[in-house]
């Protein structure tokens, strides 16, 4: 009898502290954007840029604290790129791999370490931007684009000869790979981050003090591993596309 009213009203009642699937919608030119993702992404970007800016003021020959740390980070990222892409061509891909790693790590850790719940939005809640499938799909499409660009840049149209190596029988599988690569990248990251967030919020809902801590620690660890995996896999795909003739 009153089904409609009950449905309408029950949507206003916050019966749980978890708001999954609710987003802060911004409208631009007919498209709806997820505002909460943008807000946190911008904060992460600003933090990364200012760290980079501050870290590179007053560069000295013998590195002091912050410069030392930044150099350490750069060496770590260069290592990832060098191991996957190879000695000769890794240099130009270090910025991309580094940005992917730092952005994903930054957004995951920002989502886990900053008490976003203190700020209440009209709709939806602030959390890690990578818990939204749109973000992760965007990142993996970027990776797809970059390995295509790498392959085409190096080998021209001969890049498509890769599809019939080692045997032409594998052609359908190779074509399928072009779709599964971005799919797996995006879903892996999305699933990990969203699941961790959900588990933490459910635990917090049940027992607010101390018990969620192990899961939060696991979440931090897993999210950094995910950042590493995403960037390493991107580098591996780029390295694979750059392989070319006779370098197997």
């Amino acid at each position: 009898m009153y089904q409609q009213e009950v449905e309408v009203i029950s949507s206003y009642i916050a019966v749980s502290a978890v708001e999954v699937g609710k987003h802060l919608y911004w409208e631009i030119g007919g498209y709806k954007l997820h505002g909460q993702v943008f807000i946190v992404s911008w904060l992460v970007i600003i933090a990364l840029l200012s760290l980079a800016f501050i870290g590179t003021r007053n560069l000295e020959r013998v590195p002091k604290n912050l410069q030392n740390f930044m150099e350490f980070v750069i060496e770590f990222l260069q290592d990832i790129a060098k191991n996957q892409i190879g000695e000769h061509e890794y240099r130009s891909w270090v910025p991309y791999i580094a940005t992917i790693f730092l952005f994903i790590l930054g957004s995951n850790w920002a989502g886990a370490l900053i008490p976003w719940k203190l700020i209440q939005l009209p709709e939806g809640e602030l959390a890690a931007p990578t818990n939204d499938i749109n973000t992760t799909v965007a990142l993996s499409l970027l990776t797809s684009l970059s390995y295509f660009y790498a392959g085409l840049n190096k080998n021209g149209l001969g890049y498509f000869a890769r599809y019939v190596e080692p045997t032409p029988v594998l052609l359908p599988i190779n074509i399928l790979e072009d779709f599964t690569k971005p799919l797996s990248l995006s879903f892996r990251l999305f699933g990990n981050i969203l699941a961790d967030e959900l588990v933490v919020s459910v635990f917090t809902l049940l027992v607010p003090i101390l018990i969620p801590l192990p899961v939060m620690i696991l979440g931090l660890f897993a999210s950094s591993i995910q950042a590493l995996i995403f960037s390493t896999l991107s580098a591996a795909y780029i390295g694979e596309a750059l392989e070319g003739h006779g370098e197997h």
Partner: protein, 180 residues
């Protein structure tokens, strides 16, 4: 039913928020756990990263010092070899000068030799010419004396009788102071 709907309305109006606001429910916002996690994380990271970073700094320092040492060494060697280069160029110049002098001397001595030889040859030539002249003069003199004697002989033969001949001989004996 009315009451239930009214209760629902109260809840709705209480909970529904239309603007950005600050949620002061710390428990809900998980602040305690996050604070604990953050402190734990910072502590662990400081430990771990601290050691890694100091080791890295040391390595960088050592590498810089080593390369500076090598730079110094290389510079010293560069200076030394430059000095040696300067010395060798000087020696080269000296050798060149000496070579020129020796060449000059050799040239002059050869010229001298040449002159001496020329002198000798000319004097030898002159001497042989003189000898030949003498010989020829002697021969001519001989010829002339022979011709002169011949003529005298012919003249005497045609002019001198036996009487004149004995007279000439007697005159000569008287001149010699001898007595006949």
């Amino acid at each position: 039913m009315e009451n239930i709907i009214r209760i629902f309305n109260i809840f709705a109006e209480h909970e529904f928020h239309k603007s950005l606001s600050f949620n002061s429910n710390f428990l809900e916002a998980n602040v305690i756990n996050i604070a604990l996690l953050l402190t734990g994380l910072i502590y662990v990271l400081k430990q771990f990263l601290g050691s890694v970073l100091t080791i890295r700094q040391q390595k960088v320092l050592a590498a810089i010092q080593e390369s500076e040492e090598r730079l110094k060494q290389a510079q010293i060697r560069l200076e030394e070899s430059e000095k040696q280069l300067a010395q060798t160029t000087m020696v080269i110049i000296q050798i060149k000068k000496e070579a020129e002098l020796t060449a000059q001397k050799v040239r002059e001595s050869i010229l001298e030799q040449g002159k001496v030889d020329i002198e000798r040859l000319t004097s030898a030539g002159k001497a042989s010419i003189a000898v030949a002249e003498n010989q020829v003069r002697q021969q001519i003199q001989q010829q002339i004396t022979a011709l002169a004697i011949n003529r005298v002989f012919l003249q005497l033969q045609s002019q001198v009788t036996p009487g004149m001949q004995s007279k000439i001989i007697d005159d000569n004996i008287v001149k010699l102071g001898g007595k006949i």
